[in-house]
């Protein structure tokens, strides 16, 4: 039972970047998030895993308030998430989000996708924003596609552009909601490599994924969710080789045998 104390050592509260405290959320009668307590330290990579419908996406989306919560508090870098309006918009810019379905702006070129937020939200001048955008696109390996529209790119390329778009805002933390689930197998690795590099560079990341390889190699901690609760938290090697809860054992046996 000392795994928990180990993970708490990895995440000292002093340098907590994202703190969820007793967060609850309902969709009508469905209690999707039940008393969620989660602290993510600066530079930490947390992988969230769990059966379908357990509330992983909802958890991710509450952290930048794409979903409202019913009770509890969420703070990011010491600041509680504001209710609505400009204040919230400003805080959201510090929280990058990568979606399962990419959600690149369909009517804008790749370069414009990565430039837009810098100009409209960060108020950078266009020249500087484009320079940043091009270097980020090179970094994720799609520099040659800058003038194309999203529909002209493969899924893996689109997702890497989406990562560049989020990075362009210079976020404090990045949220990934199943970033590779909509991809063909041969494109999964190109996206995971970019994410692994990000993790090595010290980015704070919350990643919903079922990619065990990524969790083992990049994550500091695995959070296992079931039925709207955090059932288990552990280091990846401990979680995968020796899960404590029956729910986690059951879940792992199912996904590992496929």
């Amino acid at each position: 039972m000392n795994e928990i104390s180990v993970t708490k050592d990895v995440a000292p509260a002093a340098d907590a970047l994202v703190v969820l405290d007793k967060v609850n959320k309902h969709f009508g009668a469905l209690h999707v998030l039940q008393d969620i307590d989660l602290t993510i330290a600066r530079g930490e990579v947390v992988v969230v895993i769990g059966p379908s419908g357990s509330g992983k996406s909802t958890l991710c989306r509450t952290i930048n308030r794409l979903e409202t919560t019913d009770s509890g508090s969420i703070t990011i870098d010491g600041k509680p998430l504001p209710q609505e309006g400009r204040e919230l918009a400003r805080l959201r810019a510090d929280v990058g989000m990568v979606f399962q379905s990419f959600n690149l702006f369909a009517h804008k070129t790749v370069l414009e996708n990565v430039t837009l937020g810098q100009v409209k939200v960060r108020r950078k001048d266009r020249k500087a924003a484009e320079a940043t955008a091009r270097s980020l696109l090179d970094r994720v390996g799609v520099g040659a596609q800058a003038e194309k529209y999203p529909a002209q790119l493969s899924g893996g390329q689109q997702q890497r552009v989406a990562i560049a778009r989020a990075l362009a805002m210079d976020p404090k933390v990045m949220l990934f909601d199943e970033p590779t689930s909509a991809l063909d197998p041969e494109m999964i690795n190109e996206v995971l490599e970019v994410m692994q590099q990000l993790a090595r560079d010290g980015m704070t990341m919350v990643v919903v994924t079922h990619e065990m390889g990524f969790a083992r190699s990049a994550a500091n901690r695995v959070v296992f969710m079931a039925d709207g609760r955090i059932v288990e938290e552990a280091r990846p090697d401990q979680f995968f080789s020796n899960p404590r809860s029956d729910r986690a054992k059951d879940f792992l046996s199912k996904i590992l045998h496929h």
Binding site: N64, L66, E84, G85, R86, A89, R90, L91, R92, A93, D94, V95, G96, M97, F99, S101, N103, L104, F105, A106, H107, L116, G117, K120, V121, Y149, A151, A162, R165, A166, A168, M169
Partner: protein, 216 residues
Amino acid sequence: MNVLSDNFAMFREGFIGTVELTVLSALLALVLGTLVAAFRVSPVPALRAFGTAWVTLLRNTPLVLLFLAVTLGLPALGLKGWDSFWLAVLALGCYTSAFICEALRSGINTVPVGQAEAARSIGMTFGQTLVQIVLPQAARTSIPPIGSLLIALAKNTAIASGFNVTELGSVQKTLNAASGYNIYVIFLWIAICYIIITFTISGLFRLLENRLAVAR
């Protein structure tokens, strides 16, 4: 004697009157319609309620009644000094804005929610999300119905002839009253004038549609 060459100045004046009325009402309708559509999808309940009320009221009032309300009602309420042309622009613009709003809103509904979520997630405000991301994509679906609405508007301007505005409808009435011309020939020329205007509108919108289809 030819009704057109005999009364060319009058036809020209009427034609220009109809064009001016159409263009100015269309501009007002597009601006108001976009604004009200933004209200209807905004997160502020009071704005949404205003938008719904605006559309319900204007869409369900017969245009002639609206003209009466504007030309008789507004001056009675103290709005003096507007000539009948601008009152007609106001009536036509407000009336058409309700329909434009709904055409835009149906376009907005075709834009996947993920687009707006992505915009919000990089810190764009509601207004920025709407102007930069949602409306440009909604426009692609809304352009054809908006084209039809503006053609309907061009024809609706004829109602203004009953309210002291010089346009094609009033030309037709004046010439009908003047004896000696074949009434069908008058109608024919008036109809040709309207066709020039409505074909121009459809042409413009077809161009717009093609431009938007390419830029993607």
